[in-house]
């Protein structure tokens, strides 16, 4: 495998980790916004407890992907920053508000008026950020962040690539996917039966919504993202990947149905990861379709080698630390015994 492909793959692994870990933290915020019923307060408390110790570590996956992108594929980073300036700036505002509002909320005065306010900012930012993140991903997949066939005028260059039905549908899809992941994880982590059932219902509902969202995005891709469409339908790997994704999706929903919480957690994360890799494969060998290939965007070999070395060394430090973090805070023996 060429060095550049290997690094592009690693960047995508980081994005994948960000989606299934950091994404679920955003999803938690969505459920905070949608908290209702008699256990509203306890739902919010569970969400905050689940996110608190890990959200910052989960967030770093995005930073890792970004720094690796500008180290290894600088032209791609430069073009993203230029053409997607507006949605990316909005993503940043969302990230800033989500993170700081969560912290202010958790460290604000307990029960005070401001606590509620910060919780609301946290929740709304958690809703908007995934929408915009998904939209930028959709814009990339649609081939609109290309160098060819661009006219001039502010709207054509800086707005049209992302303000389109297909990218927006991907944004919506990302939002549902993150909410789905969060609901599944929260149903594992709930330590009260009723709370667990609350999130089980939410997980099932968002799991079904995810199917609908995928359908809409796929439909819009017919015109909106020809490369993705062709990849997802005609490529040799398409059928097996779809089968695997479908199997994961059905496993997740079935496991939720029969209350096999931990199976559901693994299946849901697998499902979202497979969808992401479907996107990655469909636009391979391009990093920014239709014209910027991984090979053409790659930094000199010396840089790529060192980046890979840094990744190897970094992973040796990172993986045990991450394992420790999740072992301390997400140990499953703390949860309810599962039964039907």
């Amino acid at each position: 495998m060429p060095l550049a492909d290997l690094l592009a793959g690693n960047i995508f692994v980081a994005l994948n980790a960000y989606a299934v870990l950091g994404g679920a933290d955003f999803g938690g915020g969505v459920w905070d916004l949608l908290a209702l019923g008699p256990r509203k307060q306890r739902q919010r408390e569970l969400i905050a407890e689940a996110i608190g110790p890990v959200w910052e570590a989960n967030h770093v996956w995005l930073i890792l992907a970004i720094v690796l992108l500008f180290t290894c594929f600088p032209p791609a980073f430069a073009r993203l920053g230029t053409l997607l300036h507006i949605p990316l700036s909005l993503v940043l505002i969302g990230i800033v508000l989500r993170g700081s509002a969560f912290t202010f909320w958790r460290y604000g005065s307990p029960g005070g008026e401001d606590e509620h306010r910060w919780g609301a900012v946290f929740a709304i930012a958690s809703l908007i950020t995934p929408l915009l993140l998904g939209t930028t991903a959709g814009a990339i997949a649609s081939g609109a962040v290309g160098d060819v066939g661009r006219g001039d005028g502010f709207y054509t260059i800086y707005v049209a690539p992302w303000l389109n039905p297909f990218p927006l549908s991907v944004g919506l899809f990302a939002l549902i996917a993150f909410a789905f992941l969060a609901a599944v994880y929260l149903s594992v982590e709930a330590r009260e039966r009723e709370l667990q059932e609350d999130f089980r219902r939410r997980a099932l509902a968002s799991g079904v919504a995810l199917f609908l969202g995928a359908g809409v995005a796929l439909l819009l891709s017919l015109n909106g993202a020809p490369r993705v469409r062709d990849g997802l339908i005609f490529a040799a790997w398409a059928a097996p990947l779809h089968l695997l994704t479908a199997a994961a999706a059905i496993t997740a929903l079935a496991a939720l149905w029969v209350r096999r919480w931990r199976v559901a957690r693994v299946a849901a994360a697998t499902q979202v990861s497979l969808i992401l890799w479907g996107w990655a494969l469909s636009q391979y060998p391009y990093i920014l379709p239709p014209d910027l290939s991984i090979a053409r965007a790659a930094a000199p070999t010396a840089t790529l080698r060192l980046a890979l070395g840094a990744l190897a060394v970094g992973t040796v430090v990172l993986l045990p630390s991450l394992y420790y973090l999740f072992r301390v805070f997400k140990r499953s023996d703390r949860h309810l015994p599962t039964d039907a």
Partner: protein
């Protein structure tokens, strides 16, 4: 507002905001770990209270630092795509390493903040040590990248393209050692004195308050040695820029004319049109002596380059004066404190010392901002010194005033909230009177001596 100015202003605001949190993120975990260690050794609850309060402060500040750092990593591409396209392969390495250091910091901070009753006290302390070490490491890596912009190396320039890229050589650039040393010491000095200053201010009203006495001691242990060492590292930096970035030194010193035996200008206002510095106190030969350790050395003035390549001389000179003045003040206060501690005096009852330390509260951060202005403004009009001009690096996107104003307002709002939260949760004296018993009137000498010496 022209787009280039808007982009520069947005970057400046983002950095000026983030640097405060980055600096505290380096030094505050060290204080928190020291307090926890004191608690484990002495068993006095006051230290646990301190550790928990500083951990809370770190939590708030780290979160804001993490998100504002994310903004910066994106802004490199949002505002300066052409800079990143050129520099990414050469200097991306320290950013990647910083990514991992930051990861480690975030992981162990999560463990530290939420793990008080989940892991052993030994593991908990080590988690704090990991936060503190990886925080310092991330700072070092980022400053290495900035040092490369001042002393670019590790590539050859052929027709505007970088070839023969060597990221290791780029990291080992000529400015790396002096800049990382200066910035790391600045982080400990500024944070240490800011915290010490707040508690000194409260001790002026209530010198017997054991909570503030302990906080003061630990903050000074972190801040004072760094403040004493900082002038030494400043000398290293000055000699580096004299040799490698003469225009920056000339702007910082407002030296318009190249001369042997150059004088040091204290204060004054550079009149760029007349090419002279008015109202300055000049110390003969001092600049040559400081820059080259030779009173007769030739120091290059701004006349070595055309005025189109001059930085903003008044701004660089003023910033430099502020930084040096504050650095000198902090070093003197630190020496005074050290001398009194060595004499085993009761620091908290020395009102003049408490006033001097209280005055230092904002000063370290003023110096950090000013020093950063010197290095960034002093490099202009270049973004990569001698290689790429800032105006050629900016994004082609028009209307940059909009994101500039948006992010400025966002950061102003966050700044106000953070200060308010810190006041509410970290600084105020504990309500409980039990700490009073810990401080034994009359034994202040012995007690203070134990902690500081």
């Amino acid at each position: 507002m022209p787009d280039l100015l808007a982009a520069r202003s947005q970057m400046a605001v983002s950095l000026a905001f983030h640097i405060v949190f980055a600096v505290i993120g380096i030094a505050m975990p060290l204080m928190m770990v020291l307090a926890e260690r004191r608690w484990q050794v002495t068993g006095h609850g006051i230290y646990l209270d301190l550790a928990k309060r500083w951990a809370k402060g770190t939590a708030i500040l780290f979160a804001v630092g993490a998100v504002s750092g994310t903004v910066l990593s994106f802004e490199l591409g949002l505002l300066w795509p052409r800079f990143m396209e050129f520099a990414g392969p050469i200097i991306g390495m320290p950013f990647s390493l910083e990514g991992f250091a930051f990861f480690t910091e975030a992981i162990f901070l999560g463990i530290y903040l939420y793990g008080w009753d989940r892991i052993s006290s030994r593991a908990h302390l080590w988690a704090g040590v990991a936060v503190s070490a990886s925080g310092a490491a991330s700072g070092v890596f980022v400053v290495i990248a900035n040092a490369w912009m001042n002393a670019p190396t590790g590539f050859e320039l052929v027709n505007g393209q970088a070839v023969n890229v060597d990221p290791i050589a780029a990291m080992a650039n000529a400015a790396a050692v002096s800049q990382t040393l200066h910035m790391t010491l600045a982080a400990y000095a500024a944070t240490g004195f800011a915290v010490a200053g707040i508690h000194a201010f409260l001790l002026l009203r209530d010198p017997a308050n054991a909570f503030h006495r302990r906080a003061l001691e630990i903050a000074l242990i972190v801040g004072a040695p760094a403040a004493v060492l900082q002038p030494v590292s400043g000398d290293l930096s000055a000699r580096h820029i004299a040799a490698h970035q003469p225009v920056k030194l000339a702007a910082a010193e407002a030296l318009f004319r190249t001369q042997a035996g150059a004088p040091l200008s204290l204060g004054g206002w550079p009149d760029v049109a007349a090419r002279e510095t008015r109202f300055a106190v000049e110390i003969p030969y001092a600049l040559s002596l400081l820059a080259f350790h030779d009173p007769h050395a030739v120091v290059q003035g701004l006349d070595q380059v055309p005025p189109s390549e001059w930085p903003n001389v008044p701004a660089a000179h003023l910033s430099f004066q502020i930084m040096v003045a504050v650095g000198t003040y902090l070093a003197l206060v630190a020496l005074w404190t050290g001398w009194l501690a060595w004499r085993r005096a009761d620091l908290a009852h020395n009102r003049w010392l408490m006033r001097a330390i209280a005055l230092a509260t904002p000063l370290g951060f003023v110096a950090v901002e000013a020093g950063w202005m010197v290095t960034e403004l002093g490099r202009q009009p270049w973004v990569i010194y001698g290689v790429l001009k800032t105006r050629d690096a900016v994004t082609p996107m028009p209307g940059l005033v909009v994101p500039f104003v948006t992010f400025t307002l966002l950061y102003c709002l966050l700044g106000v909230i953070v200060v308010w939260l810190l006041y509410r949760h970290i600084i105020r004296s504990p309500a409980g009177p039990e700490w009073r018993r810990f401080y034994m009137p009359g034994s202040g000498k012995r007690e203070t001596g134990n902690e500081v010496a």
